[in-house]
């Protein structure tokens, strides 16, 4: 393990990429930042631009019109980077899993490579923290 990877692990900055979710997952991310599950304890920070980020936290089933934006956000994130697919929709498509659905571009893994999945609708804050810790340990 090189020096740079140690620092990657010590200060992961997360960008929340919203890809057509229902806001359930987004509220749980906010709960992670609150007093109870405060993820700043470990230096994790929610940043506002994908150019600052190390980890992309993608929520939602990715509708067709969001697909190019998600690809662009992934391209804008500087290397080394990791992707977390969050929520039932992000992991598998959730209630939109039907293959004949005309407006869904698929779960996140069909569009960009995914490292860690956090299932749940929405996932608990403990689960989100656990997923971020797992992806931190892969750096």
């Amino acid at each position: 393990m090189s020096m740079s990877h140690t620092f990657m692990k010590r200060s992961p900055w997360v960008y929340h990429a919203h890809a057509g979710g229902c806001n359930g997952c987004d509220l749980e991310i906010l709960a992670c930042m609150g007093p109870r599950y405060d993820f700043e304890r470990l230096g994790i920070k929610l940043v506002s631009s994908p150019r600052f980020a190390d980890i992309l936290l993608v929520t939602g089933p990715v509708p067709l019109h969001t697909k190019p934006f998600l690809e662009r956000v992934y391209a804008q994130t500087p290397d080394p980077k990791r992707v977390i697919a969050m929520g039932a929709c992000g992991c598998s498509g959730g209630v939109f899993v039907d293959n004949e659905n005309y407006s869904i571009a698929g779960p996140v893994e069909r569009i960009i490579p995914v490292d860690v999945r956090i299932p749940g609708c929405p996932p608990k804050p403990e689960a989100i923290l656990d997923g971020i810790l797992k992806v931190m340990r892969t750096f």
Partner: protein, 308 residues
């Protein structure tokens, strides 16, 4: 031997602790823990202590790849370097526990270096051709124009009292001799550091991150390091001008650390207690309150000198 050449190093190292302190104060007021001083054993594979968190952020950014947008000009790359250079030069002129590169008019040079740092960040952001950066740049220039007058008048009130432009000579516990100047300079420091009532230029929820939106990797690391140095320079300037008790040797270091700690605590409390101004409210407020206070501060210093 002159010790002033290690000032930039001290500025960077102490700036990291001050930055950590502000994050911790902010978190504690919001009822959170903030970056942990002692990490529990199950997370020891990540880290033992998070005291150096701002340093980890900067080193991580330096170990990342830098994406440069196709629309960006060459100033996009040059201006963060110039910004950190002006930050480093500014740290030479601020007395740290009484040690600085001092001569008879170093206060004026310090003004231009502090202004230069902001200008280089603005130029770099605007050349990225991102709309968010342009909006942020316009807001930053508006804030700078309204903020420089009270800042300069506030510090020049002390210059009138002591009849000098050298920071070394006008150092002292001037909170008592000119409280209006202290309030004005504190407000100006808040604006220069983008702390909460005045973080309009990098409002994360409106314009993505303002001027730094298109920066990534090593260039963003340079900008973060500049922020850390500027935090220390401005906190040290406030400590020197208003909270300094004349002393030498180890006492001077202790007095300086205590003053910087108090200033940092105040900045952290204001940062976490207030919401964000709108840009029109902020410019109007800066004209109403600090400008009037700074004129009172100048009169407070000038009237006893020339009338009595």
């Amino acid at each position: 031997m002159d010790l002033f050449w290690i000032n930039p190093l001290i500025a960077f190292c102490c700036g990291i602790f001050l930055s950590f302190g502000i994050r911790k104060v902010n978190a504690r007021i919001q009822g959170r823990r903030g970056p942990l001083v002692r990490v529990p054993p199950q997370w020891h594979d990540i880290n033992y202590s998070k005291i150096l968190q701002p340093l980890y952020d900067i080193l991580k950014l330096f170990s990342k790849k830098t994406n440069i947008p196709a629309t960006a000009g060459s100033l996009f790359i040059i201006s963060p370097i110039l910004a950190i250079l002006s930050g480093i030069l500014a740290s030479l002129f601020v007395p740290i526990a009484g040690v600085s590169f001092s001569y008879s008019f170093d206060l004026v040079v310090l003004f231009y270096l502090l202004m230069g740092e902001l200008l280089f960040v603005i130029i770099g952001g605007i050349t990225s051709a991102s709309l968010f950066a342009v909006i942020g740049g316009v807001r930053e220039i508006e804030l700078m124009l309204t903020n420089e007058i009270p800042f300069i008048l506030g510090t020049f009130a002390l210059a009138i009292t002591y009849d000098t432009l050298s920071i070394q000579v006008m150092m002292g516990f001037n909170l008592i001799t000119n409280p209006f100047a202290a309030i004005v300079v504190f407000l100006a420091i808040l604006v220069k550091l983008h702390m909460k009532p005045f973080d309009i230029a990098e409002a994360e929820s409106e314009i993505v991150s303002g001027l730094t939106t298109e920066y990534s990797g090593k260039l963003l690391g340079l900008l973060e390091a500049t922020k850390v140095i500027m935090l220390f320079v401005l906190v040290a300037l406030f400590t020197d001008l208003f909270l300094w008790v004349p002393s030498t040797g180890i006492t001077a270091v202790l007095v300086f650390i205590a003053g910087a700690g108090v200033t940092c605590l105040l900045i952290g409390i204001v940062h976490s207690l207030f919401g964000r101004f709108r840009i029109d409210q902020a410019t109007w407020w800066l004209f109403k309150v600090p400008l009037v206070l700074s004129i009172i501060a100048v009169l407070w210093a000038a009237i006893p000198r020339y009338l009595l």
